[in-house]
Symmetry: C2
Subunit: 268 residues, 2 copies
DNA sequence: CGATCGTTTGACGGTGCTCAATCACCGTGG
DNA sequence: CCACGGTGATTGAGCACCGTCAAACGATCG
């Protein structure tokens, strides 16, 4: 399990209150007594370590308490496909319930902690605690809805558009979490982003450079600041057809030319 | 003129038994009495019509009884992104529960019928009928797991690999439904496939031609027969890097059996 | 039959992938 | 403190696959 003999880990409790779990999931518990009485195990996962591996039996459904995870699958040819990133309040591993085996792995991108809901107790717990049942259903529904996010980024043809959409998704999450939507701290590597966008990792670097050169972003390694959200959004619109010239300062650098007229990409 | 044999409209019941619903979902109902007593509304959707539109309020969660639907989202620029296709037994519209509004549209690709579970009764129904609760959880978990499918196809760089993976996914579904995994009847247009694969629809046509030319498939408009499943699988492995030692068009009509692919005849 | 839509095929230009080299940043150990 | 190896990030050069535009072909329906 977890290393209990670590002195600097002593601050971490091994159990948390159910009401706290509901709180990080964004649900309000109307029944404090029941929720406070119920305790949920807490697991700590160090940066780089795995919460679980693809193909292993699913013991628990996890809810991120603190930190970030990347969800990935290994293709038959060994390619590591990053399916998404899970932050605070998000459910990890629910996709394993259908047959009891994890179809994907979860790796911590930084030191993180999760609530672990044992699968065996899940049904009875959901039945006993209605707020948890509702919170799970809502979160799962949202997760299904956001599973279109990877399609959204990969659907764009231009790599800068893919990156722009990805950054806007991150920004929206930051805003939903009550933090600044402009300053992004990306805990994942360029290679992880590349896998998630469906491009080569060199292309991610180049796209960061382009977006920064056009004045949309300020990039410092993994610290990104969005300088022009409106412009970024308008750039992110172009699913097909390539980026048109940037209207900011006179095209000093390398403004992309689009020879076609300005008609929108309405293909039908 | 006379209605001697008119199963056209009259044959469709407006309600179905809950046990039948559980049956198409692949779940066995251990309590026949309760399930038989409960009736579920059935809706008919004609080919090309919408089950619901993006942005509308979600009244029901639907389960496909017969037919096929395409699930799509309209991007800001009007591009129609096809997120997936739903066949018999699959749940449609659960992603709307989190905020009550459909984040995507569902269009029937052929004359279809669905069970409609009203959202208001959903919670009480799940609480009363345990098999339905379990079936819903299982199906949703499977849906989450299969939402990686679109990432799987779009992750490949070569368009033929994307198409091969898509066809293999369809084949797996056919097999899971107890039908032949070799003969595929594709109810969707080339443009729909193209949007789902993230390529231009002309490229889909070309890729069909390539796969057929290499002997993997036999294509007749929307009727596809998989001639060499093993070869198709081995081709589908190449996520990155273009197909190794592929017979570049140098007059070789058929070069499928030669070289590297020979070692891939393993059971999977 | 004519109209509309879907499918196929062709040609051209461009963008991103592959292969490399270089730089920046660490933690390690001499 | 600096050399050292390792990882991650950036930049460059060439090539070919795919997107766009265009037109022919085929199917379905009224």
């Amino acid at each position: 399990m977890e290393q209990t003999v670590q002195p600097h880990v002593a601050a971490l409790p091994t159990q948390g209150r159910l009401s706290d779990l509901l709180s990080v999931m964004g649900a309000e518990s109307d029944d404090r007594r029941l929720c406070d009485a119920c305790l949920v195990p807490i697991r700590r996962v160090r940066s780089g370590a795995a919460l679980f591996h693809e193909g292993t039996r699913a013991e628990s459904v996890h809810v991120v308490r603190l930190g970030t995870f990347k969800i990935l699958r290994l293709a038959d040819d060994g390619y590591e496909q990053v399916l998404g990133f899970a932050g605070q309040g998000e459910v990890i591993g629910f996709d394993a319930l259908c047959n009891g085996v994890h179809p994907s792995s979860a790796l911590a991108l930084e030191d993180s902690t999760v609530y672990a809901l044992p699968v065996r107790e899940l049904e009875s717990l959901r039945r006993r605690v209605a707020p948890l049942d509702r919170a799970l259903q809502t979160t799962l529904s949202a997760q299904l809805a956001s599973s279109a996010g990877i399609a959204e980024v990969m659907a764009a043809v231009a790599s800068e558009v893919r990156l722009a959409r990805f950054l806007l998704q991150r920004s929206a999450r930051m805003q939903a979490a009550g933090q600044s939507p402009r300053r992004l701290r990306l805990p994942m590597s360029r290679r992880d982003i590349a896998s998630h966008l469906g491009v080569a990792h060199e292309t991610v670097s180049r796209s960061f450079g382009e977006l920064a050169g056009w004045g949309y972003l300020s990039v410092d390694n993994r610290e990104v600041e969005i300088l022009d959200p409106q412009g970024l959004r308008s750039l992110a619109r172009n699913t097909r057809g390539f980026v048109e010239e940037r209207p900011t300062r006179s095209g000093l650098g390398r403004a992309r030319l689009s020879r076609s007229n300005g008609a929108c990409a309405r293909t039908q």
